[in-house]
Structure formats: structure tokens, C-alpha cells
């Protein structure tokens, strides 16, 4: 078991024939992801990476029955690509594109919600259910199948954490990169709710950073309703106020969104928060001693 995606997922790639789309679609196919086609307007009817290219998402869905879309379009058309996917009936929209105007994301997210579609990202590494489906840009070789759920705002920190978890002898049920933008489709709480219902996920590792209050909302949810052990790391304890730290959403605005307040809220909710990502292996060993 896993959440959201697995070996049954039928995936199309929007921005299929572009440089990024081609490279990462190829990597996903090699990993074993069921990529059933792609979309590039104007190239409908052609073949790319041994898969059919369609002009629109609607055409692609009609012919392939795709239920997941992986988006690699330029930021100027990112919002529209999400809307098109939702309009065409895609249920899980994974948007890798970085740099989409926030108002576009806001509207696209609302539209996707209206259509009953789930957006993951944007500005994220995607989602992976190890040894089943890699729908994103993460290095698949780092991940092993297992029972730890991983939710992260950051790309390389996701890989770092996955590496630590695997080195310590554990595996991952599903890892979701939720993205570092100000507005993101799937939040920590959304992912936690899914992991709560997943029998195979026995513990969750949560990786947050400065900016916004999603981690604090997650802490409140964990305290009230989440019944599995949670470990966390929050990046940006030394980040100066008012400066954007790479991610569009990683900014401490007028003293709000600091690492300290997030760590405090999580600890208060019984979450084991560590100072360095290297600790996840040790923490998991402790956590699983009784269970395994």
C-alpha cells in the first residue's frame, strides 16, 4: 500500500517533448512508472519516447485513460496547465514547474478543488511510491520500499532524508514533495490525513522550513488526530527576517513563520524534532524498536 500513486497509476506528461519533460519522463519510464503518453500542443499524433503525443490533455485522457499528470511546462503557462489537467478530468496533478506567479497558482488550485482533483506542488520534486511509480524528478535509486511516509517542502532535503532512512535500514511507503511556494496544492495536513488511512505507513517524517504556517497547522492536527509517530526537521533556524531563502515561500514575514515557532508547535504536539537531517535514522530505530 501507499498513498495517491502506485503501480496502477496511468501517467501523462504535460510539456512532454521539452528538454526537462523529455529527460525526466525518460527517467520515470526507466524507473517503471506507467507513462502512457504526453501532451505538447501542435505535436499531436507524433511519437516521443515510444509514447503517443497529444495536442490536449483531454485527448490524452480520452485515449489513454490517464488519471495522473506530471507537469513540466514553463512558469508562464504553469497555472493554465494545472487548470487544463483538472478540466480534462485528471485526478492527481503533479506540478514540477518552479516560478509560477502566485495568483495563477491560487486560481488553479481553487479550480482543481472544484473539479475534485488533487494538486501536488508546484515547485516540488513530485511524488514517489518506491519500486512502483516515480512521478517527479527525484533520484529513484535513493528510495527503497518500506513503511515510513515522507512529506517535504524541499527537494534535496527529501533526498537527504530518504537516504538517511534507507541507510538506517528502513524504507519509504510514499514520499511527497509538497513544494516550497507560498501557495501549494497539497499541504502537510492533507498528506498526513492520507498517511493516517494507509495501513502500511507506520511512521511519518515531515520536513518543513521557514515561511507560512503549514507546519503549525500540521502540529495542531497531529496533536488532535494523528495516531502514528511523527519525526520532523525544520530548515532555516538561522535565516534572517524578510529575506527570501531560495524558495518563493521561504520568507519570515514580520516575525511570522520562524523555524523556532514551528519547532515549538511540533514538539508540543509530541513530534520528535531534530537539529540535523542525519538524525532520522537514529530516531526511526528508536521508534521502531517496539514495533518491529
Amino acid at each position: 500500500m501507499s498513498i495517491l500513486v502506485g503501480s496502477g497509476s496511468k501517467v501523462i506528461v504535460q510539456g512532454f517533448t521539452g528538454k526537462e519533460g523529455t529527460f525526466h519522463a525518460q527517467q520515470c519510464i526507466e524507473y517503471g512508472t506507467n507513462i502512457v503518453g504526453g501532451v505538447t500542443p501542435g505535436k499531436g499524433g507524433e511519437h516521443h519516447l515510444d509514447r503517443k503525443v497529444f495536442n490536449t490533455v483531454k485527448d490524452a485522457v480520452a485515449e489513454t485513460g490517464a488519471d495522473v499528470s506530471l507537469i513540466f511546462v514553463p512558469p508562464s503557462s504553469g497555472g493554465e496547465a494545472i487548470i487544463e489537467a483538472a478540466y480534462a478530468g485528471i485526478k492527481i496533478i503533479v506540478c514540477i514547474t518552479e516560478g509560477i506567479p502566485v495568483l495563477d497558482v491560487l486560481k488553479a488550485k481553487k479550480y482543481a478543488e472544484m473539479k475534485g482533483a488533487r494538486l501536488i506542488g508546484p515547485n516540488c520534486p513530485g511524488i514517489i511510491t518506491p519500486e512502483e511509480a516515480k512521478i517527479g524528478i527525484m533520484p529513484g535509486n535513493i528510495f527503497r520500499k518500506g513503511r515510513v511516509g515522507l512529506i517535504s517542502k524541499s527537494g534535496t532535503l527529501t533526498y537527504e532524508a530518504a537516504n538517511q532512512i534507507v541507510k538506517a535500514g528502513f524504507g519509504i511507503s510514499t514520499a511527497i514533495g509538497i513544494g516550497g511556494d507560498q501557495i501549494i496544492g497539497t499541504t502537510f495536513i492533507d498528506a498526513l490525513k492520507l498517511f493516517k488511512e494507509d495501513d502500511k505507513t507506520k511512521a511519518v517524517v515531515l520536513i518543513g522550513e521557514i515561511g507560512g504556517d503549514l507546519e503549525i497547522q500540521a502540529a495542531e492536527y497531529i496533536k488532535k488526530e494523528f495516531n502514528k509517530p511523527v519525526m520532523a526537521f525544520i530548515a532555516g533556524q538561522t535565516a534572517p527576517k524578510g529575506k527570501r531563502m531560495g524558495h518563493a515561500g521561504a520568507i519570515i514575514a514580520s516575525s511570522k513563520g520562524t523555524a523556532e515557532e514551528k519547532i515549538k508547535a511540533l514538539r508540543n504536539a509530541g513530534v520528535a524534532v531534530c537539529d540535523i537531517p542525519e538524525c532520522f535514522g537514529e530516531l526511526l530505530k528508536k521508534e521502531f524498536e517496539g514495533i518491529a
Binding site: Q27, P75, S76, G99, I100, P101, V102, L103, D104, L106, K107, K109, K110, Y111, I137, M138, P139, N141, I142, S152, K153, S154, G155, T156, L157, Y159, E160, N163, G180, Q182, I183, I207, E209, I210, G211, G212, D213, Q217, F233, A235, G236, Q237, T238, A239, P240, G242, K243, R244, M245, G246, H247, A248, G249, A250, S254, S255, D275, I276, P277, E278
Partner: protein
């Protein structure tokens, strides 16, 4: 991206938001001429810098004669203005804005930002004009009226009516306020602003709303569709190293420590700073060279870090994924070769092909390169070296 007050007011005018008459100049000799053409008997001489709190720092002064305008212009232009937002080093004033006086009946605060928790833009209106809004929010949050605007439907008239009655405004004034607020919302969405702030917004004795101050910050991601905004960018107000890094797709933030950091990925870059601090050191910077670190971006990264004279050691922390560590190691060697770095570099590589990569670096035989395969161990080493300890 930030712009100056005078530029924000130009944009206000385009969206039908009333502002007092004013003129920008960078020449003190032209100040009284500007005031004369504006007319009236009272003027404000305002420093134009990309930071708030100008009044308290002496960057906004009232003049009751043309001679006084001249005096203030001379005093403010060229001064190093220190405000709560500039930091102790201050910001030199290169431009001033001369503005005509306004007969104030009441002062308000009006602002619009994105509320990340509510996932909606929110307009904030308060009777506490001229006060720091963060302070009002902390001390008397009930004095801030929040108007959430669904981006799919836009700002509705009844929302402003509701707010206007709450503020005890006359119905004619509320009508005026709606026109004003609508202009502000149209500007916010039309130009992809991330912050628009008017503090104070004044109601004049004649019953007109006027924006006495103006602040706009734009969503950098949306600048591609607003050339008129991009043209307003004032590079002299920005940290040159940050601008330079941006040109190469790197994101850099200068800090005060002596351990230079070069990392792939924003989250890992922040973590690297945190770990350096945790083991007793001080990071000199945040630097994200992007998910796909290449020889070219790494070389540019070294160059930017080395421009900071405080840097005693560079800690390179890269997690290799699809771009394998061995390729990154070769890239690092190539970059070091090209830049002629002569300070110690601690390289921590982990991920795909990490052992091979560390072997490549060792074999290169450069005494300045010290390798590590763990983040905390690498950070400790870097901090020791920066403190003058053993390599």
C-alpha cells in the same frame, strides 16, 4: 521586486487611485523649483529608498517655504538613512520626492497582501493610520478589518460597505472608499503585486481619499508579464552580489559569518547554515546553486562567495541525485582550477556515486580540498578551519 514611493504613486495614478501632486528629483538645486510648480504653501521632502521607517530616521521632512524645501533637499540627498528596515549600515539616499501638502481630516491604513493560511488575498483596513501595522496587529488586532477576496470572483462592493460602516464612515465617504479600494485591488491583481500598502491613507477635509504614502512589492515570478514594472527596477537599491547571482539562476543571500556555503537546493542550503551555527560557527551566506549543480554554476558560486572578504573557508554541501556525485566532483575541480581559490574548501558529497566522487577529489591532490561524506562532520571541519584550527 521593490520600487520607490514615487514610482508606486505613478502606478496608483494609472489605476485611478488619488495621490497628492509630487515630483521626484536627484538634484537639490531643482527641489525648490519642483515645489514651486506643485504649488501650495507646505511640502514634504521625502527620501526615496527601498525601506520603510523613513520618517523616524529623518528621511521625511516638512517644509513651509521654498527655502526650507531647498535646505531639506540638501540635507536628505546623499545622506545615509538608517531606519528599522535598513539595518545599522543604512542606505544612501539618491533620490527625493517633493510632495504637496494635504488637509487631513482622518488617517487610515489600507493594505493588501496574500494571506497564505486563508489562501486568499486579504485587504486590511484600519483606523490606526500612520501606525506600524505589525504593531497594531499585535496590540489591538480588533482595529484591523480584514476583507478576504476570492480571486475567482474579485472584490465586491458589499465588502467595502461592511468595512466602511464598521469604521463609522459617512455613506458618501464609503462610496469614495469603494472606488479607492477597487483601484487598489485592480492594481494588486493586474500587476501581480505581493504587497500594496498605503499608510497613511487620508480622508481630506473636502471628503476625498488620498494615498499619502505608497508601497508596492511585486511577485518576482510574474515580472515576465509586466515590462512596465521591470523598467522601474532600481539596481542601486539592491545588494549587488544578490543581483549578480540572480543573473546566473543562483540564489544568494549575504550574511555576517565567515563560513562560505555552496549548496544544491534551497532547503538543504538553509539546513547547511543551521548546522554550521549548531556546531559553533557563523555562515557567511545562503547560496543555492540549483538542483542540477554544474561546473558552470559551481564556478559562479565560488566567485560570488569569494567576493565577500569575511570568508575564511568554503563549505560545499551537495547531495547528488540524478546528477551523480562523480560528475559534480569533476565540476568542482574544474571550477576551482578556473578560479584559483587559495582558501580551504570542505566538500561534503553524498547520494548517487558519492564514494567514487570523494575518491576523485582525494586523487586530485589539491591540499586546499578536504572531503567529508557527512553533513555535520563536514560542517564541524569547516567551522574549525574558519576559527584557525587544524585542517
Amino acid at each position: 521586486m521593490k520600487i520607490h514611493e514615487y514610482q508606486a504613486k505613478e502606478l496608483f495614478v494609472r489605476y485611478g487611485i488619488p495621490v497628492p501632486p509630487g515630483k521626484m528629483t536627484d538634484n537639490p538645486e531643482q527641489a525648490s523649483e519642483a515645489a514651486k510648480s506643485i504649488g501650495g504653501g507646505i511640502w514634504a521632502v521625502k527620501a526615496q529608498i527601498h525601506a520603510g521607517g523613513r520618517g523616524k530616521g529623518g528621511g521625511v521632512r516638512l517644509a513651509k517655504s521654498l527655502t526650507e524645501v531647498n535646505e531639506h533637499a540638501k540635507a536628505i540627498l546623499g545622506m545615509n538613512l538608517v531606519t528599522a528596515q535598513t539595518g545599522p549600515e543604512g542606505q544612501p539616499v539618491r533620490k527625493i520626492y517633493i510632495e504637496g501638502g494635504v488637509d487631513i481630516a482622518r488617517e487610515f491604513y489600507l493594505g493588501m497582501i496574500l494571506d497564505r493560511s486563508a489562501e486568499m488575498p486579504v485587504m486590511m483596513l484600519s483606523s490606526e493610520g500612520g501606525m506600524e501595522i505589525e504593531k497594531v496587529a499585535a496590540e489591538s488586532p480588533e482595529k484591523i478589518i480584514k476583507i478576504y477576496v476570492d480571486p475567482l470572483f474579485g472584490l465586491k462592493k458589499f465588502q467595502i460597505l461592511e468595512a466602511g460602516y464598521k469604521l463609522g464612515l459617512h455613506k458618501d465617504d464609503i462610496k469614495e472608499l469603494y472606488v479607492f479600494a477597487k483601484g487598489l485591488y485592480d492594481l494588486y491583481t493586474g500587476l501581480d503585486a505581493s504587497i500594496v500598502e498605503i499608510n497613511p491613507l487620508v480622508l481630506t477635509k473636502e471628503g476625498r481619499f488620498i494615498a499619502l504614502d505608497a508601497k508596492i512589492v511585486f511577485d518576482d515570478n510574474a515580472l515576465f508579464r509586466h515590462n512596465e514594472v521591470v523598467e522601474m527596477r532600481d539596481f542601486s537599491e539592491e545588494e549587488p552580489a544578490e543581483t549578480e547571482a540572480g543573473k546566473y539562476g543562483l540564489s544568494y543571500v549575504k550574511l555576517d559569518g565567515n563560513v562560505g556555503c555552496m549548496v544544491n537546493g534551497a532547503g538543504l542550503a538553509m539546513t547547511t547554515m543551521d548546522v554550521i551555527k549548531l556546531v559553533g560557527g557563523e555562515p557567511a551566506n545562503f547560496l543555492d546553486v540549483g538542483g542540477n549543480a554544474s561546473a558552470k554554476t559551481v564556478a559562479k558560486g565560488f566567485e560570488i562567495i569569494l567576493n565577500d572578504p569575511n570568508v575564511k573557508v568554503i563549505f560545499v554541501n551537495i547531495f547528488g541525485g540524478i546528477v551523480r556525485c562523480d560528475r559534480i566532483a569533476n565540476g568542482i575541480l574544474e571550477a576551482i582550477g578556473g578560479t584559483g581559490i587559495n582558501i580551504p574548501i570542505i566538500v561534503r558529497l553524498d547520494g548517487t556515486n558519492a564514494p567514487e566522487a570523494l575518491e576523485i577529489l582525494k586523487k586530485a591532490g589539491n591540499p586546499n580540498i578536504i572531503t567529508s561524506d557527512r553533513l555535520s562532520a563536514g560542517a564541524k571541519l569547516a567551522v574549525q578551519v574558519a576559527a584557525g584550527g587544524e585542517k
